[in-house]
Amino acid sequence: MLLDLKAMGRFRYVLYGSNILVGLFLLLPIVFIILLSFGSSPWLAFPPPDWTLRWYEKLFSEPTWFTAIMNSFKIGIAVTVMSVLLGVPASFAVVRGRFPGRDALAALSTTPLIVPLIIIGIGLYGASLRYGLSGTFTAFALSHLVLALPFSVICTTNALRSFDENIEKAAIVCGATRAQALWRVTLPAIMPGIGAGALFSFLISWDEVVLAIFMSSPSLQTLPVKMWSALRLDLSPVIAAAAALMVALTLVLLLAAAMIQWFRRPPVTNADQ
C-alpha cells in the first residue's frame, strides 16, 4: 500500500501536496530569474512595474559581458571536443581492456568528481602560475576538461556496456575490417551515449565557476566569472539577464538530450544477452 497511490487513501493527497510544494521551491528561482530579467526596475522590484529588454541589450552591447559570453562558448566547444576525443577511446579501454588494473582506471577517471572542487581549483591555480598559463584560453579549457572528461567517460562507458560486441564481430565475420566495423557499426550504435557525454561536457564547462575563478584574468573571463565579479559589486538586473541566458541554454541542451533519449528508443543493442 505504501507503493500504491490508490491504496494510500487520504495520505496520497499529503504526498501530492508535499511534491507540489517542493516542486514550486525547485522552480521558484528559475522562474523568478527569467521574470526579473525582463523587468524594468533597476532595483529588482517584484513584480516589475513594466517589461523591457534593456538588460539583454546591455548584456550584448557591453563589451565585458559580450566577450565573456563568447569566451564561454569558445571554451565550452573546445572542452566538448577534447572531452569526446579523450573520453571515447578511454571508455573502450575501460569496457574492453584486458590489462591489469582496469577497474582502477575506471575509478581514476571519475576521481575528479570526488575531490572537492576547491582543492582542484587552487591546485590548478598554483600550476598555471608556475607555467605561465594563468589567464589563458588553454588554462581555462584544460581545467574545465578535468570535470567534463568523467562525464564523457561515464556516458560512453554505459552505452558501450549495453552494446553487444557480437554485432561488431558479426560485421568482421561478414568481411568488414576492424576499423570499418568500429566506425560503421559500433560507433553509430553508441552515438547516443557519446552525444550525451558531449552535451554534459558542454554544460559543465558553460556553468563552471569555481575553477574558472582561479583561471581567470582581467583580460579573459567566462560568463560565470563575469557574473561572479559583478555580483560582488551589486545585484544589477544585467546579472539577471546573464543568469536567464544561462538557464535558457541549459533548457535547450536538456531538450536536445531528451531528443537523444527519444531516438535511442529502438534499441540497436541486445541488452539481455
Binding site: 500500500m1 505504501l2 507503493l3 497511490l5 495520505f11 504526498l15 511534491n19 517542493v22 516542486g23 525547485l26 522552480l27 528561482p29 528559475i30 523568478f32 526579473l36 529588482l44 517584484f46 579523450l86 577511446p89 578511454a90 573502450f92 579501454a93 575501460v94 581492456g97 584486458r98 582506471l105 575509478a107 581514476l108 577517471s109 571519475t110 575528479p112 568528481l113 570526488i114 575531490v115 572537492p116 572542487l117 576547491i118 582543492i119 582542484i120 587552487i122 591546485g123 590548478l124 598554483g126 578535468v146 572528461l149 554534459f200 559543465i204 556553468d207 569555481v210 560565470p224 557574473m227 561572479w228 545585484l235 546579472i239 539577471a240 546573464a242 543568469a243 544561462m246 541549459t250 536538456l254
Partner: protein, 300 residues
C-alpha cells in the same frame, strides 16, 4: 556539476563479470596493448589533475619551510575550529533538510503514473542542471530584506519586520538545500524502485499498519539509497564554495572559503594546502566506507 557520484566505481565490477573471455590469453604485452586508447586521457588526468592536487598537498608541508608547522598552526588556532564547526553544522543541516524535502519527491516519482512521475523528474533534473550561479543569484535577490519572500511574509501578517534571511546561516542552508535536493532524490528513487511491492503487502497482510510498515519495512529497504544520497550531499556540502560565499557572511565562513582566503588574499599557500589536506581527508574518510559498503551490497 557533480552528478550521482556514489554509484560509479561500482559499475566497473559488472563489466568485468560480463566481459567475454579473451580469444587467447596472449602474452602480457598484448594485454597491455588494450590500455592504449586510454593513454591520452590518463596522461591528461595525471598532468592536469593529479599533479596539481599533489602540489597543493606538498605546499602544505614545504611552504614556507619543510615541516608540519602549518598543521600545528591550524590545529592550534581557535578560528580554525570555528570554521570546521560551521562547516559541519551547515553540512548536517543541509543533509537533514534535503532528505526531508527529497523523500516525498523520490516517493512520488516511484509510484505515480508515468506522466506525473516524468513531470516531477523533469523538474528535479531541470533544477539540477540549471546554472549554479544563476540559482544562487536568484536566492540572493529573493531572500533580501526587500526581497519578495520578506514582502510576502510581512504582507501576510506573519511578521512585522523583514527578517534577515541572507548573509547568515539561514541563507546558506536555504540555498544549499535547494541545490542538494536532486542528489538525494535520484539515489533514493533508485532504491525505492527496486523494492518488491509484495514484501510490503506481506507485512500489511500480517497485520502491520501503514506507519509500522513504513518504519520497519519501507525505511530499512530504502536505507542504501538514503545512505548513498545523504553521504553524497554531506560530503559535497563540506567542500562547497560558491553558494556559502555568496549567501553567507564572514561569520559563517566554511572550510572552502577559508582555503581560498588563505591562498588568494594572504598568499598563505602552506596554510591553504594544509587545510586542503584536512578537507580531503575528512571527505575520503566519510566517502570511502560508504562506497565500499555499496560495492559489497551490489555484488551479493
Amino acid at each position: 556539476m557533480a552528478e550521482p557520484r556514489g554509484e560509479r566505481p561500482g559499475q566497473s565490477g559488472q563489466g568485468a563479470a560480463r566481459r567475454t573471455a579473451p580469444a587467447k590469453a596472449g602474452p602480457s604485452a598484448s594485454r597491455w596493448r588494450s590500455l592504449g586508447p586510454a593513454v591520452p586521457g590518463l596522461l591528461f588526468l595525471a598532468i592536469v589533475f593529479l599533479l596539481p592536487v599533489f602540489g597543493v598537498f606538498l605546499r602544505g608541508v614545504t611552504d614556507p619551510v619543510f615541516g608540519l608547522q602549518n598543521y600545528a598552526e591550524l590545529l592550534g588556532s581557535g578560528t580554525f575550529y570555528d570554521i570546521l564547526g560551521n562547516t559541519f553544522l551547515v553540512a548536517i543541516l543541509v543533509t537533514i533538510f534535503s532528505i526531508l524535502l527529497g523523500f516525498p519527491v523520490a516517493w512520488l516519482i516511484t509510484i505515480a503514473p508515468g506522466r506525473i512521475a516524468k513531470l516531477v523528474l523533469a523538474v528535479v533534473l531541470l533544477s539540477m542542471w540549471t546554472s549554479l550561479l544563476a540559482r544562487t543569484y536568484a536566492w540572493l535577490v529573493l531572500l533580501q530584506n526587500s526581497g519578495i519572500i520578506n514582502k510576502m511574509l510581512v504582507g501576510s501578517g506573519l511578521i512585522d519586520q523583514p527578517i534577515a534571511l541572507v548573509n547568515n546561516l539561514t541563507g546558506i542552508v536555504i540555498g544549499m538545500t535547494y541545490i542538494m535536493i536532486p542528489f538525494i532524490v535520484l539515489p533514493l528513487q533508485t532504491s525505492m524502485a527496486a523494492i518488491d511491492k509484495t514484501v510490503l503487502q506481506a507485512a500489511s497482510v500480517c497485520g502491520a499498519r501503514a506507519p509500522v510498515v513504513f518504519t520497519r519495512v519501507f525505511l530499512p529497504l530504502v536505507t542504501p539509497g538514503l545512505t548513498a544520497g545523504g553521504t553524497m550531499v554531506f560530503v559535497m556540502s563540506l567542500g562547497y564554495y560558491v553558494t556559502p560565499a555568496l549567501l553567507g557572511s564572514t561569520k559563517n565562513m566554511m572550510l572552502a572559503e577559508y582555503i581560498v582566503q588563505q591562498v588568494l588574499n594572504y598568499l598563505e599557500w602552506g596554510i591553504g594546502g594544509a587545510a586542503a589536506v584536512i578537507l580531503l581527508v575528512i571527505t575520503l574518510a566519510i566517502y570511502l566506507p560508504v562506497l565500499g559498503f555499496q560495492r559489497n551490497t551490489a555484488s551479493t
